[in-house]
């Protein structure tokens, strides 16, 4: 490829350095722990370590951050399965079936699936990153306002269909999520919207505080209601059962599709692990022979999002390394790490530092392998966490939420937002609505608004121009198919059933 064997040897030499190996192990451990802790996601995990990289060479510092990134994306699934609280946004989709499996006494199996899926997804995306990065980056670069509009509509509709049983309830809550993203300064013409005279709201509702409130805080509020009840679980849930070859063979379609989906979504700038996980989950549910089993503890509902979210790691690095445009919020922090090293990510980086590129590719492969072992130990530790009574977990989680949210911007206002969002999430859950569309509306809202307004501007007000892009048209086509597929299949099935009976 670029640089040849000399660069590979240089990469192996720097990766074999004892300090680099220690940083890798330390980074994975830190990443998993932070992933397990609710509210502290990959971007925060990387940010915590970033100051230390000031004093390191390029390869060890980037490897440390990549270890933390990969492990934090995985670590979120442990708490998602064991306690039903997503440790990171990326693990939200895993909660649904992972925690259901745990409650059924199949927690060990779920933990094994999430670990295996994460590693396969991670390795798959690294291979994609290494071999087809330049090609995939060229596709992603064609994404303009019309394409982003299509992809955010697609994402919203798919997620609303996935979460909860009622489409209208899902749409309504998704709408609330989008509405909340309109708060703050309008970036197109500078108008203040819903700022209530407070400058704290100029840049809108703080993202991390909102999500921590909606997920973690509302979850502990729900838990607090049952604080006096003893946590009841099957002991066998605690020992990890790595899936056998037979199970993997059965799930291989889901694993491959989720790896691919996660990688592609990771490549699309701005879309991170959470969106990848939701897409893969909905795709697995849609393709399943028994979609109604999803939500009750379906193994595919665990392995699909977990494979996809780790696959977004390699994917997100494609535009980050080849264009200098971060593929995810965590990758944006990584970009800062490159710049402090005097490296400008872009097409030239491949030519200038082939050893660094190989270090990233090979390093990520090693990180994923190491994650199996460190993950198995971490799960044991996480299992100890579950034995702690709710009356201890709830205040501890609340404390971590407060510290985590405060640390992001050193702002008490964010803490207030978190508390308010916690009550919002709690109310929504109590009313029998799902909070997933709320969070997805909140994530996709800004992309949706900006791309819609840009599309209008580009097309001089003509709606037909929205479809003038072949990529956007393709995305709308796929969306129409996913919506229509259900009824079509039902119609096709009916006569088929008749034939079978005869």
């Amino acid at each position: 490829m670029f640089g040849g064997s000399e660069a590979i040897l240089a990469a192996l030499a720097s990766l074999g350095d004892p300090t680099t190996i220690m940083l890798m192990v330390g980074g994975i451990t830190l990443g998993i722990i932070i992933g397990i802790l609710p509210g502290l996601g990959p971007p925060i995990a990387i940010t915590i370590a970033l100051p230390f990289t000031f004093y390191m060479d390029a390869v060890p510092s980037i490897i440390l951050l990549l270890s933390i990134y990969s492990a934090a994306v995985y670590g979120g699934s442990i708490s998602a399965i064991a306690v039903g609280i997503p440790g990171t946004g990326a693990a939200i989709a895993t909660v649904i079936d992972g925690h259901a499996m745990f409650k059924k006494g199949r927690g060990g199996e779920a933990l094994g699936l999430s670990l295996t899926g994460s590693i396969i997804g991670g390795i798959f995306s690294v291979i994609c990153l290494a071999f087809i990065a330049p090609l995939l980056a060229q596709i992603a670069i064609k994404f303009g306002p019309r394409e982003f509009l299509a992809i955010s509509i697609f994402g919203l509709v798919v997620v609303v269909r996935v979460a909860g049983e009622n489409l209208w309830k899902g749409l309504a809550i998704g709408g609330v999520g989008i509405f909340l993203t309109t708060w703050g300064l309008d970036e197109v013409n500078g108008t203040e919207r819903y700022t209530f005279g407070s400058y704290h709201l100029y840049e809108g509702i703080p993202f991390v505080a909102f999500l921590v409130g909606v997920f973690a805080l509302s979850e502990v509020m729900m838990n607090a209601e049952t604080a006096l009840r003893k946590v009841d679980f099957d002991k066998s849930s605690l020992s990890v059962k790595l899936p056998g070859m037979k199970t993997l063979a059965k799930l291989k379609g889901t694993i491959m599709r989720s790896s691919l989906l996660g990688t592609v979504i990771g490549i699309i700038p701005g879309e991170g692990a959470a969106v990848g996980a939701f897409f893969a989950y909905s795709e697995a549910k849609r393709r399943s022979k028994n979609p109604e089993a999803f939500g009750t503890g379906e193994p595919e509902g665990v392995i699909a999002p977990e494979t996809a979210n780790n696959a977004t790691v390699g994917g997100a690095l494609v535009p980050t390394l080849t264009l200098g445009v971060p593929g995810s919020p965590a990758a944006a922090v990584l970009l800062g790490a490159f710049l402090i090293q005097g490296l400008a990510p872009g097409p030239r980086l491949f030519a200038e530092r082939p050893d660094l590129m190989y270090s990233i590719f090979i390093g990520l492969l090693i990180i994923n392998v190491l994650m199996i072992f460190i993950g198995l130990i971490a799960i044991r530790f996480a299992a100890q966490l579950i034995k702690v009574p709710t009356s201890v977990i709830v205040p501890s989680v609340v404390l971590l939420c407060f510290v985590g949210v405060f640390s992001v911007s050193n702002s008490l206002f964010s803490v207030g937002v978190m508390i308010a969002s916690g009550f919002l999430g709690y109310t929504i859950r109590k009313l029998g609505y799902s909070i997933a569309p709320l969070s997805i509306g909140f994530v996709l809202g800004p992309i949706l608004e900006l791309s819609l307004r840009q599309s209008v501007q580009i097309s001089d007000g003509s709606v037909f121009e929205f479809f003038a892009s072949p990529i956007a048209l393709g995305i709308y086509g796929v969306l129409a198919l996913t919506i229509l597929w259900g009824p079509i299949r039902a119609r096709v099935k009916k006569p088929m059933e008749g034939v079978d009976d005869a």
């Binding site: 064609k142 704290h200 922090v333 097409p347």
Partner: protein, 325 residues
């Protein structure tokens, strides 16, 4: 009698305050200093602030801790500093949005010139006009010809931000009209060129190193040449060089300030420490990896520099109807 007592108490009180302040000045700094950054951790602005903190810490002999207070149009970060005592233990990493654009366009609860005393300005960035590498437009003159015939789609990061204001100035000087597309970040504006969503975009001089093969610089949006232009955009002229009668200025800078009212002795120490720490070749090389570097040191010179920025951008923002009432 009561009045006299109050007066005495006030006098004693102020005396105590005065003496402790004096003591504090003499052995400043005797405790850790905080440097407030209005950007999240990890970005360029944060990294430069951390380099500032490291240098100041070495010179002053106490830890300088960086805290990030992002969001809220940078106002919360400024208020975080202004709510603390003016004793030199809380420093502020100022940038263009917090001292120039923000106070002009929002009803900010502070006046940068009255409430802050700038110590130095270190980084400086200039805007440049780019097209896609496969564009038919090859020179700035060709661009003007094309732009006169149609309303070109111009990629800018945000309305009211320096790249947009450069585009506005370009339009005024050459009598052009653009369809400004807000792309949110400078890299996104330039990526819009590659993806074909915009026909022309305003980026920064340093942007070229990240996207070299895919974009083509047309002109540097500045009047006079600065020494780092040749390093970042070799062979590209400034507007002032091509059309000496036209005006094209950019003001994007950053530095460190303290709250107004900070004792002169403390300011002197900070200025001296900054001079010792940041004029070294090693420091300049580090900053140059991130952005361009141009040193303005001392309260008076830095204040004058910031005033230049306000004088430059105020008329444009006024014309756009963006000035705060």
């Amino acid at each position: 009698m009561t009045f006299f007592k109050t007066l005495m108490a006030a006098a004693v009180g102020s005396l105590v305050t005065f003496t402790t302040a004096a003591v504090a000045q003499d052995d400043y700094p005797n405790k850790p200093i905080t440097l407030v950054v209005s950007f999240p951790a990890g970005g360029n602005a944060d990294i430069i602030a951390r380099l500032n903190a490291e240098g100041l810490s070495q010179e002053l002999g106490v830890p300088v801790n960086v805290i990030n207070v992002p969001g809220g149009g940078m106002i919360p970060a400024v208020m975080n500093v202004l709510e603390k005592p003016a004793d030199g233990y809380t420093l502020f990493r100022w940038t263009t949005p917090s001292v120039v654009i923000g106070p002009l366009v929002r009803n900010a609860p502070y006046d940068p010139m009255a409430d802050m005393t700038p110590i130095f300005a270190d980084e400086t960035v200039a805007n440049a006009l780019y097209v896609s590498a496969d564009s038919e437009i090859e020179t700035f003159e060709q661009f003007i010809e094309v732009a006169k015939t149609k309303k070109m789609k111009m990629g800018v990061n945000n309305i009211g931000a320096p790249p947009h204001l450069s585009a506005v100035q370009l339009g005024q000087e050459f009598d052009l009209e653009f369809n400004n597309l807000v792309m949110k970040t400078v890299p996104a504006s330039l990526l819009g060129l590659v993806g074909g969503q915009v026909e022309v975009a305003v980026g920064q001089v340093g942007s070229f190193k990240t996207m070299g093969d895919e974009i083509r610089p047309l002109v540097i949006l500045d009047n006079d040449r600065k020494d780092f232009y040749e390093r970042d955009l070799p062979g590209v002229s400034t507007v002032g060089e091509v059309f000496p009668a036209k005006n094209a200025a950019t003001w994007i800078k950053g530095g460190v300030a303290v709250k107004a009212g900070t004792p002169q002795a403390v300011i002197d120490k900070l200025v001296a420490a900054s001079e010792a720490a940041f004029t070294t070749d090693e420091f300049i090389a580090q900053v140059n990896n991130l952005t361009a570097y141009s040193w303005v040191i001392g309260v008076e010179d830095t204040t004058a520099t910031i005033q230049e920025g306000i004088d430059l951008y105020k008329p444009f923002l006024d014309e756009l109807g963006l000035l705060a009432k």
